[in-house]
């Protein structure tokens, strides 16, 4: 199930909140486990078993890792490895099997050609997110940053926790360890959660979906009458779609978390205002960056030791980051693209960027990111290259044509809305307004309702509500 659907809001969420607050506190984790399984199973119930397998596996491994950590490091390591290998195998099988086989088959060896590709296997939704999340449990126990969770229902609730199950943020176990045992449930937190959720809901439905619609329209246009302006605007709208879709989901997750008493960390921090690629990656999908840093980069040695080791570690992290986004070469390239840029910035560019006027470094970052999304958006690399060509007038019918001009002009006001919405300005104004008095806060309360009503209208009229995370 996805948040941006009528059945989520008016069926699932309504029932879930009701049950959650009707049962006594001790049963709430169990309720969370059950409702989260329903949430997960809504789209493809057959995959619930993978979920249950994950729970049992990591619960058991975590238990033994915790038991032997102090006494028998070897045994603890074995159980940690069992958990990691099993989790990664499940992920590899569902997500990368076909990709690996297809690439192996490029080698002209007979026996390789006979391996079946399971191209009809559907990727279990959110598998990349929750396998990373559950792995963090055994890893945290192993590294001593969290305690063993003895209650399997509470642990199961963590693994399946529906707010961030399918699109993050990737919550590390150590961050919610205490919250799983005891967390506050009160109206202040709930109201704060509602405001965050409604904001995310609006981002997804009013901004991301509409930007996506324009991206599709411009791309469809390029297939027949490619124009330079259309190619640029298309990829710009795609960039906004990705940001608002992703950060909208994160906001909804954080908001829902608050309504259930959890405090999750922010996942996006206005990435499009960044003045360097390095800064961009501190602001974009923070929980994933943190995960790779904590569980891959640092265990590999981080930036300690020889210089070549640090470079190796960075390359490994970015190769994996790319691959994590999808089983296709364009994602790997996309990861390595950033790897190279980050290394360049690390060696010298960052110092120069700091001295440049901020408009220049900002523009530089935006352009880098834009081309990054071009790589990200086209699984078919040659199609991506064709689009790149259009942006520079190769194969186009002109800068803009009669029909495309209409879309160009009519999308400008919306483009301005998107641009402003991706800066911290709206939030700053919100806080100012919020703190200005009772009347303002009352207006905000009514505003939340209005936003929800408008978003509902878009869902009822839903001709366009794509789900971007089917690859994750």
């Amino acid at each position: 199930m996805v948040f941006s659907s009528l059945e989520f809001l008016f069926l699932y969420f309504a029932v879930t909140i009701l049950i959650y607050y009707l049962v006594p506190n001790v049963m709430r984790n169990f309720v969370l486990l059950i409702v989260s399984l329903v949430f997960y199973g809504w789209g493809e119930p057959v995959y619930i078993f993978i979920m249950l397998f994950s729970i049992v596996l990591d619960y058991t491994c975590g238990y033994f890792v915790g038991k032997y950590r102090e006494t028998n490091k070897k045994k603890a390591t074995v159980f940690m490895l069992i958990s990691v290998i099993c989790n990664l195998s499940v992920l590899c099988f569902f997500k990368y099997y076909t990709f690996i086989i297809e690439n192996l088959q490029l080698i002209p060896l007979d026996f390789l050609q006979k391996i079946p590709t399971l191209s009809n296997i559907e990727l279990p939704i959110g598998i990349s997110f929750y396998t990373f999340q559950t792995m963090s449990y055994t890893l945290d126990i192993y590294m001593g940053t969290a305690k063993v969770q003895k209650n399997i229902a509470s642990f199961g609730a963590y693994v399946t926790l529906f707010p961030q199950l399918i699109a993050g943020p990737i919550v590390r176990y150590q961050d919610v360890d205490d919250q799983l045992r005891k967390r506050p449930h009160n109206i202040d937190m709930f109201a704060s959660g509602i405001r965050t959720f409604v904001c995310g809901f609006g981002k997804k439905i009013l901004l991301a979906n509409c930007a996506g619609e324009l991206w599709d329209a411009f791309r469809a246009g390029t297939e027949t009458d490619a124009t330079v302006a259309g190619a640029w605007l298309g990829i710009i709208f795609y960039s906004f779609q990705l940001y608002f879709d992703f950060s909208g989901y994160s906001d909804m997750a954080i908001g829902l978390g608050k309504m259930l008493g959890f405090t999750f960390k922010e996942n996006f921090f206005y990435p499009y205002v960044s003045k360097s690629v390095t800064e961009f990656w501190r602001r974009w999908h923070i929980s994933m960056g943190t995960w790779f840093r904590e569980y891959v980069y640092i265990p590999l040695g981080g930036n300690r030791g020889a210089k070549w080791k640090m470079y190796r570690n960075i390359i490994v992290v970015w190769f994996l980051t790319g691959l994590w986004h999808g089983a296709s070469w364009n994602y790997v390239l996309w990861g390595l693209y950033y790897c190279i840029l980050l290394l360049i910035e690390k060696t010298f560019l960052l110092k120069i960027l700091k001295k440049l006027p901020s408009a220049v470094s900002h523009l530089y970052t935006l352009i880098i990111v834009l081309f990054g999304w071009l790589l990200f958006g086209f699984e078919d690399l040659s199609a991506g290259m064709t689009h790149l060509g259009y942006m520079f007038g190769v194969g186009t019918v002109g800068f803009t044509e009669a029909g495309a001009t209409f879309d160009l002009v009519r999308s400008l006001p919306f483009l301005a809305i998107l641009a402003i919405a991706s800066t911290p300005l709206p939030k700053t104004l919100f806080y100012k307004f919020y703190s200005s008095g009772k009347a303002a806060r009352t207006v905000i309360a009514v505003g939340c309702l209005a936003m929800l009503v408008v978003c509902t209208a878009y869902l009822v009229d839903s001709s366009y509500n794509p789900f971007l995370y089917f690859r994750f």
């Binding site: 009528l6 008016f10 057959v46 109206i187 309360a445």
Partner: protein
């Protein structure tokens, strides 16, 4: 202090700021208020969805709505059931029309210039846009027509072909200048090429209508042409058939309704535009008509039912089924609309030549004009697959008119059915 925190990149502090503000005691009332409003809204509609009875059909949108999906274990396990349930929920959501209108309003406020692919033109015009219609469908239709015409002519049937434009092809004055006629010119260019290639001579009714000075040739919120638009098409077509057209002054205009909200209006969701006026162009003697619809696809209340040769017919003594003016689809008052497969028009007590019309719904409002010259047999291939040449022979018709608009040509394989049983007539 708060200001500093907002600017800080520390995500944890940022997260707790919203919470801190929320936690201050002064906010208690507003916290209760926002919870009550939002949760109240959600619970209200959650309950209303189940309580309000389901509808089968949306008159406003002119489509049938989905009903509760059938539950099967297999469908459930593979997600089919839940997907269908989502559609069901959107279709049967309470206050559906209100929400659809609200979405259109929201899009308009953001100056997007269109909603659901319908452009908001000047003068209250709503124009469905179609930038890149299905050229393969066009090819399929023309190919079938190209095969049919020579065989029909061999059988002594004189064929006339006419293609009409869509609203976006004709009403240039009300289309945003920037959108212009680029896409229209493009597809009509392709039509022209393909027709030349297949040796199909056709009357371009787009040009005919574009060249008039009139400005109400298409309904503002329906995709059909108005009776005035149909009149100009009639002039062109009837001249091509070798007859002299009647002048506008030879007709008496009767206003049927001023409250017509058509298909474009439905898909646009833009509810704040005024209704269209439907006019009937009456002529002396048109009350002597007999309109026969074979096995109609709609239950007309004003029909007289008869049976002939084992076929059932609804018979009327008018072109205009005023009972349809009480429904949403008021354009259906022309010949009853509804894509009826076989319709016959004769004048009482007169022996006249029969013209067979292979057509889409644009012909519904054109037929009353043509009927001033010919008896008509109208075949709608969307809903039937007759042996067209046999029908011509049965009625002794030596003239056939194929009349289609670009919308049908590019979205529906109607003309393909012209080839039904065609080989039996090959000589």
């Amino acid at each position: 202090m708060a200001k500093e925190k907002i600017k800080s990149a520390d995500d944890v502090a940022k997260n707790s700021l919203q919470l801190q503000l929320s936690k201050s005691k002064e906010s208690r009332f507003e916290n209760i208020l926002v919870t009550a409003l939002v949760m109240g809204f959600i619970f209200f509609f959650a309950v209303a969805f189940w309580v309000v009875p389901d509808r089968d059909f949306s008159e406003e949108e002119n489509t049938s709505l989905s009903s509760f999906p059938e539950f099967t274990v297999d469908g459930f396990l593979h997600g089919g059931f839940t997907a269908d349930f989502g559609t069901y929920m959107a279709d049967q959501f309470p206050c559906r029309n209100f929400f659809i209108g609200l979405k259109a309003l929201s899009e308009t406020v953001q100056l997007k210039g269109q909603n659901n692919n319908v452009i908001i033109g000047s003068d209250g015009y709503l124009i469905a846009r179609s930038d890149y219609p299905d050229e393969k469908m066009l090819e399929t239709n023309l190919k079938a027509l190209g095969r049919f015409v020579p065989i029909a002519e061999e059988n002594g049937i004189d064929c006339t072909v006419a293609f009409a434009g869509r609203k976006m092809d004709v009403c240039e004055d009300v289309i945003p200048e920037l959108y212009g006629s680029y896409y229209s010119d493009r597809i009509f260019g392709i039509l022209d090429e393909k027709c030349t290639e297949k040796e199909i001579d056709y009357i371009n009714l787009r040009d005919t209508l574009c060249n008039t000075d009139e400005d109400y040739l298409y309904y503002k919120n329906d995709h059909h042409w108005t009776s005035l638009g149909a009149y100009y098409a009639y002039r062109e077509v009837i001249s091509a058939l070798g007859e002299t057209p009647y002048e506008l002054s030879d007709f008496t205009v009767e206003t049927a309704t001023e409250e017509f909200f058509g298909t474009t209006w439905s898909s646009a969701g833009i509810k704040w535009v005024g209704g269209d006026t439907i006019e009937y162009f009456r002529w002396d003697g048109d009350e002597n008509v007999t309109l026969k619809i074979e096995s109609p696809r709609y239950e007309y209340k004003s029909a007289t039912k008869t049976e002939e040769n084992g076929k059932s017919y609804d018979v009327f003594d008018t072109f205009y089924l005023r009972e349809m003016l009480e429904t949403k689809d008021k354009y259906a008052s022309f010949l009853g609309g509804n894509n009826n497969g076989y319709v016959e028009i004769r004048m009482n007590g007169e022996e006249r030549e029969t013209l067979v019309l292979v057509r889409d719904s644009f012909a519904d409002s054109l037929a009353p004009f043509l009927a001033r010259h010919y008896d008509l047999v109208l075949l709608d291939l969307r809903t039937s697959a007759p042996d067209t040449i046999a029908i011509c022979e049965e009625h002794g018709a030596e003239k056939l008119l194929a009349l289609y608009n670009m919308e049908t040509l590019t979205t529906s394989n109607d003309l393909g059915k012209l080839n039904n049983k065609l080989s039996s007539h090959e000589k």
